[in-house]
């Protein structure tokens, strides 16, 4: 059942499980419990469509690293959440993303990828991306002749691109039909009520933009509002926990992470384009779109002390200055064998010496290839979101995001492009030129470096409450009946887009809650092994 909260008569709502937020995580969780007989209530701030007044509640302030996506518009506050505007890239995090890496401070999940694999597989169906296979070798007809990269340096894999699945539109009917699920729209949760020692949530407090107020009482609560709002709501729930709910150790909001995407981190001047051309662009198979990635081996990450990264190959456009310079040289060649006085002739035509250098590469194809680098952002407690002094239309403190990039990210992108350069050179395929800004040993970043926007990490998962907000089951440390779903629980994000992992974790949490609800609330139930219940109907 889907209900407009503004039209609801009852302002006191009871449920067994209350899910706050109807994005990828909240809808997945609700849908996984549909038909279970467990009374579930999903609270969504927005309606079924975009509404500027509601979206404005996401407004906040940025300090530190620039981001072309501001806090307000980089996420969506209506049914379906940010799946209403996502692009669809899906790939699981890697084994090493889950492991503690001595060269990456604060890295490591309290669970392994193997534990999440069954849920990743189930999540594939929800995201409409086919089988749980990501090796290029799974597509021998497409990738039969890819260059034989040194597996100790480079491994290859694919992105699977979701249509992209708009969770609101796709799964709305499933929730509407479920007897045990009620979805309340226009129901803004402003904070949680707790018992006096803040060890148990008693209710979620709701406000509407029209001034209506209500409470939802439940046995269990799941916060599923996204990578920033999850932390915001915990910080706002400070009636009995002055620093915020679950924030005894001042971790909530810290360790903010995102992912970087750098266009033209390097260009590759190739003398035989064909092997690399196979890695360029998308292709379709069985209704799913794919594209390829060059990634570091675990050994390469360990030896070079990098974060995780990936590189994608694309073709420079005709308008790119590089391409223009190369075209000029090529045209000169076509008119004669070679200029009599190379230096004078060519440098008189082209002022860009790099263009000359590349043009001298006689077997060069007409246009060089561009290397797009993706890079993990290192977990850092100083990168964080905090409550600002400004208030939104509901009277709630807005968010201020403070984050910066450090030498690890720059080292990673520099090393990534250098490794690709080493491999292209070894294989005799060409040479790679790094972008100028990568050469300087400073922390300057070009304006076109793009972050996600994949807000993550602000309620990170860790076994130690001093290092994380939630435990391995996604339960908030110190609060017996409050869980968090979504990318905010990622202690490390890798370079892969978060949605597949968000959905997998939500399915895992659904399993856990289903089992826990079968037992008395005072018993701490360990996470049970994945079962077929992770499967999506």
């Amino acid at each position: 059942m889907i209900i407009d909260f503004r039209q609801a008569d009852r302002k006191e709502i009871d449920a067994t499980l209350c899910i706050v937020g109807a994005g990828a995580a909240g809808i997945t969780l609700g849908r996984a419990l549909a038909g279970s007989g467990i009374p579930v209530c999903i609270l969504e701030s927005g309606g079924l469509e975009y509404d500027e007044r509601i979206q404005e509640l996401y407004d906040g302030k940025d300090a530190g690293f620039h981001d072309i996506y501001d806090l307000k518009n980089s996420r969506l506050r209506y049914f379906g959440g940010s799946t209403n505007h996502w692009v669809g890239h899906c790939a699981p995090a890697t084994d090493l993303d889950f492991a503690p890496r001595p060269w990456v401070p604060y890295s490591g999940w309290p669970l392994t990828k193997a534990e999440l694999d069954p849920y990743y597989e189930a999540a594939q169906h929800l995201l409409e991306i086919g089988a749980y296979r990501y090796a290029l070798s799974d597509f021998p007809d497409r990738y039969a002749k890819i260059p034989p990269f040194d597996p100790n340096k480079i491994v290859t894999r694919v992105w699977r691109l979701s249509p992209p699945t708009r969770f609101g539109a796709k799964y709305r009917d499933d929730l509407a039909r479920a007897d045990n699920v009620r979805v309340y729209l226009h129901a803004n949760v402003v904070d949680f009520d707790t018992d006096a020692d803040a060890k148990r949530v008693t209710a979620a407090r709701l406000h509407t933009l029209d001034g209506e107020r209500a409470r939802v009482r439940a046995k269990y609560f799941v916060l599923a509002c996204g990578g920033i709002e999850n932390a915001r709501l915990l910080l706002l729930s400070n009636r009995h926990a002055p620093r915020g709910l679950g924030n005894a150790h001042d971790v909530v909001g810290r360790y903010y992470i995102d992912q970087l995407r750098v266009e033209n981190a390097a260009v590759a001047a190739v003398d035989n384009e064909q092997p690399l051309a196979m890695l360029e662009g998308d292709f379709h198979r069985d209704g799913v779109r794919f594209s390829s990635l060059l990634c570091p081996s675990e050994q390469a990450q360990r030896e070079r002390q990098t974060l995780n990264w990936a590189v994608e190959v694309s073709r420079l456009t005709d308008m790119h200055p590089w391409a223009v310079a190369l075209r000029n040289v090529r045209d000169a060649w076509r008119e004669g064998k070679w200029p009599d006085d190379f230096g004078k002739q060519v440098w008189a035509v082209i002022s860009d010496l790099d263009g000359v250098a590349t043009g001298m590469y006689r077997r060069l194809q007409p246009w060089p290839l561009s290397l797009l680098a993706r890079c993990e952002v290192a977990p850092d407690p100083e990168n964080r979101v905090v409550l600002s002094g400004e208030r939104d239309a509901l009277g709630q403190n807005k968010i201020e995001r403070r984050w910066r990039l450090g030498p690890r990210e720059k080292h990673t992108i520099r090393t990534a492009t250098r490794i690709i350069g080493e491999e292209l050179g070894r294989l005799g395929l060409g040479r790679v030129k790094l972008a100028d800004w990568l050469l300087a040993d400073d922390n300057r970043w070009p304006a076109d470096v793009i972050a996600g926007p994949h807000h993550s990490g602000t309620t990170r998962m860790a076994s130690d409450p001093r290092r994380g907000v939630v435990d391995a089951t996604c339960r908030v440390h110190g609060v017996e009946n409050l869980y968090v779903a979504g990318s905010s629980v990622f202690p490390a994000g890798g370079y892969t887009h978060p949605t597949l992992t968000v959905v997998a974790l939500a399915l895992r949490l659904a399993d856990h809650l289903r089992h826990r609800l079968e037992e008395p609330i005072t018993i701490k139930t360990p996470l049970r092994s994945p079962t077929s219940s992770a499967g999506v109907s």
């Binding site: 001047a269 010496l353 001298m360 492009t417 250098r418």
Partner: protein, 137 residues
Amino acid sequence: MFNASHAPDFALRRASIKAIAGALCLLGFGRNSVGAAPIGSGDARLRAPIAALFRDEAAACAVGRRCLAGLAVGEYGALERTRVLLAPITGGAQFRERLARQRRREFARGDTAIVNGWVLARSETDLCVALALLPRD
């Protein structure tokens, strides 16, 4: 000194840019011709097999001279390293194959130099600079 990240002054950077031009020149030339003369101890004789890598020696020399502009010769060990690289060469095919193997080994083990952003094998930059240093007969 060829790593641009350690070359804060513009003159050195400009010189490095020119060096890369020579280095890349190596890669594209010499597909058809290979130096056949045995390598002797004289610098002038060492020059011949390197020059043979280039289809247009005059153009290569021009690039080489530009590579060296602004560089202090004594600071760069390219000539000595190139002498070692080329020493046992007596025939064309061996010469080419040796250079290729050397490049592959260097790339494989990450023995590269970044010259104005270009990721190059160490021997590539060595040969480029050496060519510009060696006297003609």
